[in-house]
Amino acid sequence: MEKTFARPRSLKTVPFRYCPGCGHSLIHRLIAECIDELGIREKVVGIAPVGCAVFSYDYFNFDILESAHGRPPAVATALKRVMPQKIIFSYQGDGDLAAIGTSEIIHAAARGENISVFFVNNANYGMTGGQMAPTTILGQRTTTTPGGRSAATEGYPLRVSELLATIEGASFIQRVSLDTYGEVTAAKSAISRAFRGQMEGRGFSLVEILSPCPTDWGFSPKASLEWIRTAMKKVYPTGVMKDRDKGI
């Protein structure tokens, strides 16, 4: 009998220790499947962020370099420049990429670095216990916005994909989500597209993934997906924000 569903080679044979229902496990799997399908596992170097996904080095079955908080795009820039034939991706949360690392991501995009960035937007700081992130939506309660984020005091959520899509150096930017089966399939295509773009030398690509953090949101895994659908996607619509080849 043919085996049609198996653990990707690009994942180690250990169980994920992310929280139940956490988006990181699923995103790791999607990235690993794409890497297997493209046959690039032995050419990949991934960059682990500071955040829950720092532990991605326990799960990915290829070379991983850990980076300081927010700096993966600078680290990726150097890796790619000194090894243009290798495939370099950074994996970053919204504290990492949209707060402390805004400078690095904007300038990597502006330079048009030929790297792939996977940006996990879970609307809060997971690892440190659920504080407000720049992506926290208005009204959302976090440990540092106990009354809900208010525009008057905390300002507005940052739409990273829309922002980066204005940068000439960026070649492909898409926001995807994990809340339905269809969205997960679209997420995988976008990830694959980002890798293929790099393999073809098209330059900077970023996939933003709306991702559940049931633990810090205080919802069940199922209710978390519901919240992405009903609340998050209103602020962060999915879709292709930029595709230089198609003139988008």
Binding site: E42, I64, A74, V75, A76, L79, V82
Partner: protein
């Protein structure tokens, strides 16, 4: 045959020596008085087949160096004091991840934005860590362009040998001055194979480079392992230079450009028959504490001269450990003292009753 002398600006000598030593990645951000380094690298690095990047900040620069080094490439950044402050987190990461790197600090006056003249105010930062956690950088302090050239080359070798960040601690004078020097040829020593780099796991098991150590006892062990490395460096890598210390009653201790100015004052005092010597640490970490302790036991007094408010003097006092007297003369705030000024100060100290 005598080898031709080179005549270059200090910053350019450092940049060219780096290229000849095999540096193939440089990232930096403009700041006076070190701009000639990125400018030179922008020209030379592509010729040498390497990568030059003008980064968006010193934070990005040093993290780029971190990435290039993880791929096994000899990598360097340079800056001046405020920029080096911004790099401290990543320098700690380099130490923790055990990645080689060369960092050049052409110091200027501080604190804060300070000024752009030469200073030695970053001794503590360079020597005592600067960033967080228990780590050390090997720190070289050149006092002329010959040393800038030779120590830059050595810095790359030692960074690779020990897998540590190495700092070249210069200053605005060393960076900006021009003088002839012998362009010593770079001879690559035998170094351990870089069997730890991340460049794709073809034909081998995947590798991880990290500094996070969450296992029980893991981080303590890592720190002990680092300590072993630092102990080996203390044993093997101390470099210092002495002038007329054997019969000296008073030994002037100075590093970098302060030592250069002090040397002319000391020579003049010697010519007048005054028994003054100069002791110059070339490595600031490891500090030549044994040699200083030895001189202290012989009853020599010390006068520490620095272009700061008194930093290395603390290490001299530690080495002397009360066995002899230590005094200090310094000018902070980016003031370069004159040879006449030092001549007077040293002479007064020499003549002072103990």
């Amino acid at each position: 045959m005598r080898k031709k002398l080179l005549f270059k600006k200090g910053n350019e000598a450092i940049a060219e020596a780096a290229i000849l030593a095999g540096c193939r990645f440089y990232a930096g951000y403009p700041i006076t008085p070190q701009n000639e380094i990125p400018e030179y690298m922008a020209r030379r690095m592509p010729e040498a087949g390497g990568v030059f990047i003008q980064a968006e900040s010193e934070i990005a620069s040093i993290n780029m160096v971190y990435g290039a080094s993880a791929a096994g490439v000899r990598a360097m950044t340079s800056s001046s004091s405020p920029g080096i402050s911004l790099m401290q987190e990543a320098i700690s990461f380099l130490a923790g991840a055990e990645l080689p790197a060369v960092i050049v600090n052409i110091q200027r006056g501080g604190p804060g934005l300070g000024n752009i003249t030469a200073s030695q105010g970053d001794y503590f930062q360079a020597v005592k860590g600067g960033g967080h956690g228990d780590y050390r950088c090997l720190v070289y302090s050149p006092f002329n362009l010959q040393e800038s050239w030779d120590l830059t080359m050595l810095a790359f070798d030692k960074a690779d040998e020990y897998r540590i960040p190495v700092m070249l601690l210069g200053d605005g004078v060393i960076g900006q001055m021009m003088e002839p020097f012998r362009p010593t040829k770079y001879v690559r020593p035998r170094l351990p194979k870089k069997d730890w780099i991340v460049n794709g796991c073809k034909g081998r098991a995947p590798r991880v480079i990290r500094s996070l150590c969450m296992g029980p006892g893991e981080l303590e062990q890592k720190n002990y392992d680092l300590c072993k490395k630092y102990d080996a460096i203390r044993k093997k890598e101390v470099i210092f230079d002495e002038h007329n210390v054997d019969d000296a009653g008073l030994v002037v201790v100075a590093f970098g450009v302060a030592a250069r100015i002090a040397l002319s004052a000391v020579k003049e005092l010697r010519e007048q028959g005054r028994k003054v010597g100069l002791f110059r640490p070339v490595t600031l970490f490891p500090f030549p504490e044994k040699r200083i302790a030895e001189m202290a036991r012989k009853g020599k007094r010390f006068m520490v001269v620095e272009m700061n408010a008194g930093q290395m003097v603390e290490d001299v006092r530690l080495a002397v450990s009360g066995a002899s007297g230590v005094t200090f003369y310094g000018r902070p705030g980016g003031v370069v003292f004159t040879p006449e000024e030092l001549y007077k100060k040293i002479k007064a100290e020499y003549s002072r009753k103990k």
